[in-house]
């Protein structure tokens, strides 16, 4: 686009220059010819002509300068004139600016968000050479977690990596914060900690905003130091610098804060949530005694990032690291689990090549693109109507000597001004809107589960977004004002005589005019948009109604972030659990207490199961305590629940779901059967069968789901309490009882109603519904206003013609019928085309990869008749009511008035 403009500008200047050249040359030649005619010799004649002209180059430049000054002058005049006219018609101005802004804002918000989410890079030195290592598993899938030994192996022996760094996941620990200034921290509170390799900050090239970063060598546990994140420093210590040198007590171990990370540094991404503190890996046993990876070298829990050597590609690194990992596994006599190691680019929030993300982005862009198209069609109509209304004025001005080009340019200026205004509004609003949406997501979703995780995202449109918004707005303004201008300046003589432009109007034959095409285009776009928004909305509404099959309203989930932080170690787990059960059961309104390693709908374990003489199958599993099923109201169909006796025996008993029984032993009684479980193929016996529930995702019932008894000393994370009434009513009581057992536990416990889990599962469909409502609402508004306006206007245009017909003796009813019939035929044809296209598009949605279509439609047919009929009816009613009133009025008007009305 810009290239084309530049090219045209260049050609135009060339043309201008050669024009001036030729004009001056002609002048000199004419003079020379006259000189010759007066008797001068040829050579002398030419010379005299040139001399009398003077400095040709200077004259040429002066002339061109005049052209340019004149052009600027006219442009300025056009702008002033356009301003005046736009001020005189505030309705038109506000309407078209708003319509355009509404159309563009969707795509701008989308691009701004895409920019902030997918295109933003980590604020570290040379982020292009920084890669994150990913293990492709032989069994399928991938993982970004490595063991300590593997990390050391890569770090010390790789030839393609300059350096490797490692970080753990987020750990929530109970910390006693230092008193700084006026801030007093009486109680310990949970903080998020990330353990990182000693070279983490130096390899990333991140400098402290205050204090210093981790010294680049091992501490041997001698000095315990930590780096505070900027957001934590601001939030917890109100940006007080005297926090430097103070100690944070984790597990009684003092950690000295030696530096504060820069504001832009949010860690190494995915998600962009900075922890409160970064602490050297070597401190792990001191701050988290339960996580003694030193004694468990096989535990893969480090994310490893590598900095590529100069001139080395990520591919070369991947090849070398794959060989290294496989050799490493071989030398340790381990199972070979790694099929390849990838060195992927790092990202701020998410990997922009993620196909799910791409598919969703494309769908959003398509939806808002359609909203934009409808807005553009509206705009075209506004301009067309305005130009038609001003035909007389334009004709008069042409008669007074203004050229058509001049008039067109003036209207074009109006278009540019409107585009500029719409673009500016959009650019101001969209970052605010992004922030608003994000804050809503943060406060309603993220904080609902924990207020420790603060995402750092900044929405500001970059040059590309600004360029897109301005180009689209100004382009639309110019295009449609040009359309109007060309139409309005047509046939000035007819306009002066007060006649309508030569606009075809035949009752019998359907001749397509520009306005008809516009109405048709508007209808087609609206139908496609509304049908798809309707289908998605209906699908999402269906997704909201799915019930999981267990009780959620009367069950509360208490999650402990770090039991050992409260001084309860492994040896005392069973004791603590018994105490907790006793205390909670004694509370009024509590009907039962149970434990499990996973919260239904928020997680499940994975294993394999082999029935005698059958093939191995994938299975989901969880470990539950006796009473789990009664707490959740899941019926035991056959056999019995676990008892305290089962706990001690480990996993020799299993309870399965009805689906599992049907799947493994069709037509047989599963009770008492034996299956081999997991890699070790340990045999377990089925002691009970329970009802099916939707435990993993709301969308389906898993074919194979196994419940194992909890091990007596397994660390507990989640306690479930069944209450008599709504669970929300009893949370305070429960928390009091917990603090009575150990007052440090309250800070570590977070209490949710199980309804939250359902809510979380329904989140995608909730957001989808909101989105469909948003796009659909915008679409209905724009399409309704646009189609109504266009039809009203096109009928009003014919008032004069209707007057003539009535004057000639036509009946009002027959004219009304004629007008309505013609409009309905046009809208009908366009609606059918739109419905066909919409169906094709939604059909394409269902065959999209990754099941995104079925996720959106939730089993609603892509040809769902309800949606199609509703949309068609909406358009028919809009079009009919738009055409009826002005047509009716036109037939009632005195024909003489109608004839004089233009």
């Amino acid at each position: 686009m810009s290239l084309l403009l530049k090219l045209r500008g260049m050609l135009q200047r060339r043309r201008l220059e050669t024009d001036i050249d030729e004009e001056l040359r002609t002048h000199i030649e004419m003079r020379a010819a006259d000189n010759k005619a007066a008797g001068m010799p040829a050579k002398e004649a030419n010379y005299a002509a040139r001399r009398s002209f003077g400095n040709v180059t200077l004259a040429k430049e002066d002339t061109r300068a005049m052209d340019i000054i004149g052009w600027l002058d006219t442009a300025m005049r056009d702008v002033r004139y356009a301003f005046r006219l736009l001020r005189k018609t505030p309705g038109f101005t506000a309407g078209s600016v708003l319509t355009l802004a509404l159309g563009v804002i969707g795509t701008t918000v989308l691009l701004t968000a895409y920019n902030a989410i997918a295109l933003r890079t980590l604020s570290v030195r040379d982020n292009k050479s920084l890669t994150v290592l990913k293990r492709e598993l032989r069994a399928g899938g991938s993982s970004t977690e490595f063991t300590e030994e593997e990390y050391r192996n890569f770090s010390e022996h790789s030839q393609t990596l300059d350096a490797a760094i490692a970080e753990t996941g987020y750990d929530t620990l109970l910390a006693q914060l230092p008193n700084v200034g006026q801030l007093q921290f009486a109680e310990p509170r949970p903080v998020i900690v990330k353990l990182v390799s000693e070279n983490y900050f130096s390899v990333l090239g991140v400098k402290a905003v205050a204090g210093q970063m981790l010294p680049d060598e091992k501490h041997n546990g001698a000095e315990a130091v930590g780096i505070l994140s900027y957001s934590s420093w601001q939030r917890r210590f109100r940006g007080d610098l005297s926090v430097l040198g103070q100690s944070v007590f984790l597990y009684g171990t003092p950690i000295t804060i030696i530096g504060i990370a820069p504001r832009d540094f949010i860690g190494t991404g995915l998600p962009p949530v900075p922890p409160d503190m970064w602490i050297p890996l070597s401190m792990e046993t001191r701050v988290e005694p339960s996580h003694d990876w030193v004694n468990h070298p096989d535990e893969a829990r480090l994310r490893v990032l590598g900095r590529l050597k100069p001139e080395t590609s990520a591919r070369q690194a991947a090849i070398e690291l794959t060989a290294m990992a496989q050799r490493f596994e071989g030398s340790r006599g381990m199972q070979d689990v790694t099929s390849a190691i990838d060195a992927d680019p790092t990202a701020y929030f998410l990997e922009k090549r993620d196909p799910h993300f791409l598919a969703i982005s494309a769908m959003l862009l398509l939806s808002f693109g359609m909203v934009l198209s409808i807005a553009c069609a509206n705009l075209a109509n506004f301009f067309l109507a305005r130009a038609t209304a001003r035909r007389k004025e334009m004709a008069v001005r042409r008669a007074l000597g203004a050229s058509r080009g001049r008039l067109v340019r003036q209207l074009l200026t109006e278009g540019v001004l409107i585009g500029l205004a719409a673009g500016a509004i959009t650019l101001i609003i969209s970052p605010l809107l992004c922030d608003f949406i994000w804050n809503q997501i943060q406060s309603r979703i993220v904080f609902r589960f924990s207020d420790l995780y603060i995402f750092v995202l900044r929405f500001s449109p970059n040059a590309w977004v600004i360029g897109w918004t301005m180009a689209v707005s100004i382009g639309a303004g110019m295009l449609f004002s040009l359309m109007g201008a060309l139409h309005g300046s047509k046939d000035p003589n007819r306009a002066l005589r007060g006649q309508a432009p030569n606009w075809p109007l035949k009752g019998s034959r359907l001749r397509v005019s520009a306005r008809d095409l516009l109405i048709a285009a508007q209808v087609v776009f609206s139908v496609v948009l509304l049908v798809n928004a309707g289908l998605v909305g209906r699908g999402m509404a269906r997704g909201q109604k799915v019930y999981p099959g267990f009780d959620t309203r009367q069950v509360m989930d208490i999650e402990f972030a770090d039991i050992e932080g409260a001084g309860i170690d492994k040896a005392h787990t069973a004791e603590f659990r018994a105490e907790l059960t006793r205390q909670l059961s004694g509370l009024p309104g509590v009907r039962g207490v149970a434990f499990a390693d996973h919260v239904p709908l928020l997680g499940a374990g994975a294993t394999t199961v082999t029935a005698l003489g059958k093939t191995e199958e994938h299975a989901f599993d969880s470990q539950v305590s006796p009473g789990f099923f009664s707490v959740f109201g899941i019926k035991i169909v056959r056999g019995r629940d676990f008892t305290t006796g089962d706990e001690g025996r480990g996993t020799s008993a299993v309870i399965i779901t009805e689906s599992t029984a049907r799947h493994l032993w069709p037509g047989e009684d599963a009770l008492g059967k034996t299956v081999a479980v997991g890699e070790t193929k340990s045999p377990v016996q089925v002691i009970g069968v329970v009802e099916d529930t939707r435990t993993v995702v709301l969308g389906r019932v898993e074919p194979v789901y196994l419940y194992f008894p909890t091990a007596a000393n397994a660390p507990i994370n989640d306690v479930f309490v069944r209450t008599v009434g709504e669970a929300t009513a009893s949370t305070g009581l429960v928390l009091n009882a917990i603090s009575a057992i150990n007052n440090r536990l309250t800070a570590l416990a977070s209490v949710h109603v199980m309804d939250d889990a359902i809510w979380f599962q329904r989140l995608p469909s909730t957001i989808g519904t909101l989105f469909a409502a948003c796009v659909g609402g915008l679409g209905i508004f724009l399409a309704g206003v646009g189609i109504y306006g266009t039809i009203v206007y096109s009928v009003v245009q014919r008032t004069r013609e209707i007057g003539i017909r009535i004057a000639l003796g036509a009946g009002g009813a027959s004219i009304l019928r004629l007008v309505l019939l013609r409009m309905m035929r046009l809208v009908g044809v366009a609606t059918c085309v739109g419905l066909g296209l919409a169906g094709a598009l939604s059909h394409a949605l269902t065959i999209l990869p990754f099941g995104i279509g079925s996720l959106l439609l939730f089993g609603v047919s892509p040809w769902d008749p309800l949606v199609f009929v509703t949309v068609a009816a909406f358009l028919a009613v809009t079009a009919l009511s738009a055409a009826y009133r002005p047509a009716r009025r036109a037939t009632e008007v005195d024909p003489m008035v109608a004839l004089r009305c233009e």
Binding site: E23, T26, H27, M30, N55, A59, D62, D67, G401
Partner: protein, 110 residues
């Protein structure tokens, strides 16, 4: 040819060009020749400054330009007065008359 004679005021050049064009479409060289002959060789248009002036007038919308064939079939740019240009000419003529009248009064004042 004294220098003073050539120093036509910019305003008078525009006035004379408009007046010349009021007789009919003409190219730049034609305008020079006409002014020279009509003034009985008393006035000579400085050719180098004629074209900037013409282009300026074109931008003002007083004259319109079109390429056409000259008497001896040369391609030349013909200028033509627009309705606005006509009005401008009347205006400028009035101004000129006022100016010369005023200057004459000053010179005759003894």
């Amino acid at each position: 040819m004294g220098k003073a004679k050539n120093d036509l005021l910019q305003g008078t050049l525009v006035l004379m060009a408009l007046r010349t064009l009021a007789r009919g479409p003409m190219h730049g060289y034609g305008i020079t020749v006409h002014i020279q002959s009509a003034s009985q060789n008393l006035l000579r248009v400085e050719e180098g400054s004629l074209y900037p002036a013409l282009h300026r007038m074109e931008q003002e919308g007083w004259i319109r330009a079109e390429w056409g064939a000259s008497e001896n079939n040369r391609r030349a740019r013909y200028y033509q007065l627009t309705p606005t240009g006509h009005k401008q000419l009347v205006e400028e003529e009035k101004n000129w008359e006022r100016l010369t009248y005023a200057v004459a009064r000053v010179l005759q004042f003894t």
